[in-house]
Amino acid sequence: MSRTAIPVRTADRPLPRPPLKKRAQAFGLWLLTFLLMVIMCVPGLWVVLSAFRPNREILAKPPIWVPETLTLNNFAKIFGIGQDQVAIPVLAYFSNSLIIALTSTVIALIIGMSGGYAFARYRFRFKGGIFLGLMLFRAVPGIALSLPIFMVWSRLGLIDAKLGLIIVYISLNVPFTIWLIDGFFRQIPMSLSEAAQVDGCTRWQAFWKIEFPLARSGIAAAGVFAFLTSWNEYALASQLTRSTDSKTLPVGLMDFTAQFTIDWAGMCAMAVIIIVPALIMTFLVQKHLIAGLTFGGVKG
C-alpha cells in the first residue's frame, strides 16, 4: 500500500515559495506598473530637470540625458535677479493665478456644499433632472464654450478681468464639487444628524457640529480638485485674458515664445513654479483623503 506524504508546516520551516507562474505574474504586473509610471512621470521630471539646466544643454543633439551642470539662473532670470533678465511679470501672474484660483475655489466649495447637502438630504421636484443637467454641463468641454463666453464677456466688459475668469471657473467647478460632496454626505448616516437634533441641536447646528466635520475630507478633496482645475486651466484663460491685470501663470508661459525662438529654460522654470503649489496642495489633502472616518459610529 502506497502512502502519500502530507507536508507538515512547522514553526521553523519557512513557507514554501509560490509557484513560478505566480512569481512571473507578479513580476509582469510590477513591470507594467513601472512602465506606466515612467510614461506618466518622465515628461514631468524632464520639465523639472530642464528648469535647472542651461538652454544649450536642453537643446543639445544628441540629447544629454544626465545633466552636466545644474543652475538656478533660469529662476533668477524670470524673477529679474542678476544680469540676464527676462521681462516677464511672473509675480503679477502668480498673484493673478492665486487670487483667481482661491476665490473661484472658495465660492465653488460654498455652492458645492450647499448643493451637495441638498441633493444628499432633501427631496424636491426635478431633483434627478437637475442633477443630471449639472453633470451633463460638466461633460461639455470648456473650450467648446469659449466663443460664446468670449462674446458675452466682451459685452459685459469682463474680458481681461479677474472676475470674468473667476465666474468661468466657478461654473466649471460647481458641478464637480456638488457631485463629490453629495457623495460624501450620502455616506454619513441620516441618523447622526437626527441624533444631534434629538440631543438639542437645530438642523444648522447638527450640520456644523456633526455632518460637516465628517464630510470634511470630501470637502477638502473637492476644494483641491477645484483649485487645481482653476490653477492649471489654460485654454479659456488664454482667450479671456490680455494683460498683466488678469493673465494667469499657464497663459504667462506663452510669453517665453518669441517669433523665432522659444526660451525653453525659462519656460520650464516657470512650469516648476506652477507645479510646486499644486504639489503642495495635493500632499496637504492626501491626509484628508483617508476614508472611513465615519466607520464605528454606526452599526458594525
Binding site: L192, E194, Q197, V198, P213, L214, G296, G297, G300
Partner: protein
C-alpha cells in the same frame, strides 16, 4: 410626570397613508413596546413622537404639551437608534456630554452627569475611546448613556438590539430592563422581535399596516390574542391555526375529525359557523410530556413527521387534518420520525377565531 398621548395620529407620504389614525395612551414611567412586522408603521410612529417625521393628522402630547409643531430638541426626549448613531469623530466622553453641552450646561455639570451615566452603564473605563474602538455591545451602551445623561421625559428606542448577535442581544435586553428599573422613565421601544416585546414591555402594542391590532400586557396579548394576526405574531413557534366548521356543538376539522369546542366559547358558536381553531405548540403535547395538567383536554393520535430536540424539550412537527402543526414535548424522551403518539390538546387554552373576520370569538 410625562406620559405620552397619541390621539388619532396619521402619517401619509403623498397619497400613501402609512399610519391610519392610531390612539395610544402611555403612562408615566411605563415601558411600552411597539411590535409588528416590517412596514407596519411602528418606527414611523416613534419618529413622529421624536419629531423626526411630520405628523399628517392627529396630535401627540408629551406630558402636558402638544408637541406636533415642536422640533425634536424642544420635546425633551432621548432616542437610541438602530445603528447607534454615535458621533464617530468624538470620544465616548464627548458623545455622552454632547447634548448637555448643546444645552449650555456648565463643564462641571457635564462631567458629573457623564460620570454618573458612565457609572450606571459600566462605561467609566471607555470614556476616552472613539466609537470605532468599541464592540457592538459597548456602542449600544454608549448610545443608551447618551440617552440618559439629559434626564429626559421619555426614552425612545428604535430597534436598538437588531444589530447585535443573539447572545449579546439577550444581555443587552436584560441591561435595558435594569436601566428602566433604575431610572424609571417613560419608554417607547420599537422592535419586530416578539421575544424582546414579551420580555421588556409593561404593555405591548401590536401593529399591522399602520393600525394598532391589540394593546395589552405581554400575558394578555399572549393568552388572549384578539385575532389570528396577533395570535401568530406573538409566541414562538407561532400558534397553529386549523380551519374548521362548528358542527353539532363540536369543531369539525377538514379531515372530518371532531374536537370539542372549548367550554368557555360554547355560547359564542353556532351551527355551520366557519371558524379557525388556534392552539399553541405548548398546548399540544404527548400525554405525560406536557407543561402541566389541563382542565379540559382531548387526546388525539398523531404521527411524528420530524422531531427537533432542544435539550429539555423537543419541537415536534406533525399534522392534524392534513395540515402541518408544531407541538412540544417536555422532558427526556427521544422521538423518532413516523412514530405515532397520543397527544393531548389543552382545549381550555385553545382559541376560536371567526374565519371571515379573523377576530377571536373571545372578544366578539
Amino acid at each position: 410626570m410625562a406620559g405620552i398621548s397619541i390621539r388619532a395620529v396619521e402619517k401619509a407620504y403623498g397619497a400613501v397613508r402609512v399610519v391610519h389614525g392610531i390612539d395610544l395612551e402611555i403612562a408615566h414611567e411605563e415601558f411600552v413596546v411597539l411590535v409588528g412586522p416590517s412596514g407596519c408603521g411602528k418606527s414611523t410612529t416613534l419618529r413622529m413622537i421624536a419629531g423626526l417625521e411630520d405628523i399628517s393628522g392627529g396630535d401627540v402630547w408629551i406630558g402636558q404639551t402638544r408637541v406636533n409643531d415642536l422640533p425634536p430638541r424642544k420635546r425633551n426626549i432621548s432616542m437610541v437608534f438602530q445603528n447607534y448613531a454615535l458621533y464617530p469623530h468624538m470620544n465616548v466622553r464627548d458623545n455622552l456630554g454632547f447634548g448637555l453641552r448643546i444645552a449650555g450646561q456648565s463643564p462641571q455639570v457635564v462631567t458629573e452627569r457623564v460620570n454618573e451615566a458612565a457609572g450606571i452603564l459600566g462605561l467609566s473605563e471607555l470614556l476616552d475611546r472613539t466609537p470605532a474602538e468599541l464592540s457592538g455591545g459597548q456602542r449600544q451602551r454608549v448610545a443608551m448613556g447618551r440617552a440618559i445623561v439629559r434626564h429626559p421625559d421619555a426614552f425612545l428606542f428604535d430597534e436598538p438590539l437588531s444589530n447585535l448577535d443573539a447572545k449579546l442581544r439577550g444581555q443587552m435586553r436584560a441591561e435595558i430592563k435594569k436601566l428602566h428599573q433604575k431610572v424609571r422613565t417613560t419608554v417607547v421601544y420599537v422592535t419586530h422581535d416578539q421575544v424582546e416585546a414579551m420580555t421588556l414591555a409593561d404593555r405591548i402594542v401590536v401593529m399591522r399596516d399602520g393600525h394598532i391590532e391589540q394593546v395589552g400586557t405581554p400575558m394578555q396579548v399572549f393568552n388572549h390574542p384578539v385575532n389570528t394576526f396577533v395570535a401568530t405574531f406573538i409566541g414562538s413557534p407561532p400558534m397553529n391555526l386549523l380551519p374548521a366548521v362548528i358542527h353539532e356543538g363540536q369543531v369539525l376539522l377538514r379531515d372530518g375529525s371532531l374536537v370539542p369546542v372549548p367550554a368557555r366559547l360554547r355560547a359564542k358558536t353556532h351551527e355551520g359557523q366557519d371558524v379557525v381553531l388556534g392552539i399553541r405548540p405548548d398546548d399540544i403535547c404527548p400525554v405525560g410530556h406536557g407543561l402541566g395538567e389541563t382542565d379540559e383536554g382531548t387526546d388525539i393520535a398523531l404521527t411524528v413527521d420530524l422531531a427537533e430536540p432542544l435539550g429539555m424539550e423537543s419541537l415536534i412537527y406533525t399534522s392534524i387534518a392534513g395540515q402541518e402543526v408544531q407541538a412540544k414535548l417536555y422532558g427526556p424522551r427521544i422521538v423518532q420520525a413516523s412514530e405515532t403518539l397520543s397527544f393531548r390538546l389543552a382545549l381550555d387554552r385553545a382559541h376560536l377565531f371567526d374565519a371571515a373576520t379573523t377576530r377571536s370569538l373571545d372578544v366578539l
